[in-house]
Amino acid sequence: MLKNVICGAITLIVGIVYIIEARRLPESSLSDEIGASGFPLLIGWALVALSVFLIGQSVLFRRQVQAEEAPSEDSVWNDPKFAAKRAAGLAAIAVAFLVLLPMAGYISALVVLIGASALYLGRPPGRDVAIVAVGGAIALWLLFVVILDIPLPAGIFEGLL
């Protein structure tokens, strides 16, 4: 039940903020009767109404909602904090890829992405991971740059490729 109430609260806040921002949209002389803010306001108010409904429904029918919400035995949502931590770690690796890409180039950044992801997801450190990371990066570079002819930054390998 608590999960639904939190969900409802978050979407309620999002709806209210969205309505406030929609009201601030400038009007234009080219606009129709509805205006640029008309449809967003409709969506915003619908979201607010449904969020309140979700919270109310979750409180009134808490036992049934709790039973419906209960995840299956092997679901990751049995330990949501752990699931969120693991997801955050993978997201951090993706952010590192974004940061490295313009500096080190496509191939190097990809080696780091594949290698770090494989290690993070449970492969033991070793030669295998290095081979898969380098091999995978080269395979993707061949696919995009050579076969599909899509230019991607070579970065530190600029002179070589």
Partner: protein
């Protein structure tokens, strides 16, 4: 005749056949990997289709969809792990056959059933799409608005989780769709000065993030359960005598697959389980079910493959996708500035005839590709999951970056992945969000166009008979679903009260 001529011209003049084979192959591999659904497999290819011509691009995506539906049966039979949700029903009898040393036969039965199901689905697609789309020629702006509302209502109703959550998910998609430039006045909305957002949030990036990246995030905390390794199996096609005994089961599967394919939200999973039940009901060998009944494999595979083909009808006739996979295919159309529906039939019938031709090539290629790729499929299924996930992540980000070489695009995919992860945690279904995103522009622009025509009078949505019908159906779906949910919840509460009174 014209359609056949156009199809043959495209076959010889474009890489259509090659894309059909590549799509089919990629789809089989994607479908064979547990955790990678047909929609994720297609989403991985979306960024690649930007630089392609429309017909080969659409054939690539559609063939991937068809291939993935078959591919899911491979791990279901060999290691009791369905590659796709729809293959969960195939697992019941298929894995039993594998345990009895008949894994090769099970794979063969699944392959033949998949081919027959795909042919049936394709035949219905070709026969029904154009006549149905002619209905849409009578549509006015009010009708298109109401159709969008009906599509969103139906999907919100039938998606996983409660109706309220489905509706909230749809609204989230509509909200994202309002980012960009107002369709009438050109005013910038919710862009906060970012030039990258002026043309709106690219739905392809949101789709890839919501489906593929959020799935990777969720799987990051799942232990690698693939301790069962798939042994190398040789695919054995069923004999003619065996195939005759499976005729009824295949027929049941095709009929149910066709029915479910036309129902938005029903999908291959529902079709395959229904087909399993009905095949068992009408079988002369009921006692074999649960112990490795070939009919169980045939019915489920023919159902989910027929469903795949027929599921394209609502998309091609009306422009409304009824599943995650057809939503991705709609993305493929929109990337090339094409809107599926009756206008496309009128202005660019070659696009659709090319798609049909490509799918016919894909069906012909399916048995050959399936047999040739089985060893590689098994090898892939046996790879450690961390390597597969790392490679998929690399493919997602590479594909995204290849569109515009833009870090903003990568950030958007990541943000959509985080949103998708949060939505999964709260039990908010993803399909209504994607639909809200792709239909948002159509719904808003037709809403406002209708009001311009009527001078601001909302009565236009009731006066237009098609619009009134669609809106009435939407209300019926929503109210009916709400009453049903309420009854179930009250029933649960009343039952408990009765128990307390009795004790």
């Amino acid at each position: 005749m014209e359609a056949i001529q156009i199809g043959l011209d495209l076959l010889t003049g474009s890489p259509l056949a090659l894309m059909a084979v590549i799509g089919m192959t990629f789809g089989i591999f994607g479908g064979a990997m547990p955790g990678v659904s047909p929609s994720i497999t297609m989403a991985l290819l979306l960024p690649f289709t930007y630089t392609m011509d429309p017909v080969p691009a659409l054939v690539l995506l559609a063939a991937t969809y068809v291939g993935a539906e078959y591919g899911g049966s491979i791990p279901a039979i060999l290691i009791r792990t369905p590659g796709t949700n729809a293959a969960a029903a195939t697992l019941i009898e298929g894995y039993e056959m594998q345990r009895q040393g008949k894994g090769g036969e099970a794979l063969g039965i699944a392959l033949v059933a998949s081919v027959l199901g795909t042919i049936a689905g394709l035949a219905l697609l070709i026969l029904l799409t154009e006549p149905l789309s002619r209905l849409a020629l009578a549509f006015r702006p009010a009708s298109y608005f109401a159709l969008g509302v009906l599509g969103l209502s139906v999907i919100a109703t039938v998606s996983e989780g409660s109706l309220v959550k489905g509706a909230i998910a749809a609204l989230i998609g509509l909200m994202i769709a309002t980012v960009g430039t107002d369709p009438v006045s050109g005013v910038a909305r919710f862009t906060y000065g970012s030039p990258d957002l002026l043309s709106g949030v690219p739905f392809v990036l949101v789709m890839v993030g919501l489906f593929a990246v959020s799935e990777l995030f969720e799987q990051a905390s799942q232990p690698d359960r693939s301790s069962d390794k798939a042994n190398s199996s040789r695919l054995r096609l069923p004999s003619f005598g065996m195939q005759k005994t499976l005729f009824k089961a295949n027929g049941i599967g095709m009929a149910i697959g066709a029915f479910c394919g036309l129902m938005p939200g029903a999908g291959g999973t529902v079709a395959s389980f229904m087909a399993y039940n009905e095949a068992k009901r009408f079988s002369k060998n009921k006692d074999q079910f649960g112990k490795g009944a070939p009919e169980g494999v045939a019915a489920t595979e023919s159902a989910n493959n027929t469903d795949a083909g027929v599921g394209l009808i609502p998309l091609l006739s009306f422009g409304i996708p009824a599943s995650n996979s057809t939503a991705i295919l709609l993305g493929g159309f929109l990337i090339h500035g094409l809107i599926p529906g009756p206008i496309l039939f009128q202005r660019s019938p070659d696009i659709l005839y090319g798609l049909y031709t490509g799918l016919i090539v894909a069906v012909i290629a399916l048995p050959f590709v399936a047999i040739a790729s089985l060893k590689l499929c098994i090898w892939l299924v046996n790879r450690p999951k961390p390597y597969l996930m790392a490679f998929i992540m690399a493919l997602v980000f590479s594909g995204t970056y290849s569109i515009n070489n833009s870090l903003f695009d990568l950030s958007l995919v990541l943000a959509a992945g985080i949103l998708g992860f949060g939505m999964r945690y709260f039990g908010l279904p993803l399909l209504p969000t994607v639909l809200g995103l792709v239909l948002g522009y159509m719904v808003e622009s037709n809403y406002r166009r209708s009001l311009v025509i009527s001078g601001g009078d909302h009565g236009i949505f009731i006066e237009d008979p098609i619009s009134a019908t669609f809106l009435a159906l939407a209300v019926i779906f929503l109210v009916g679903s709400l009453i049903n949910e309420f009854r179930q919840r009250m029933g649960g509460g009343a039952g408990k009260k009765q128990k307390e009174e009795l004790s």
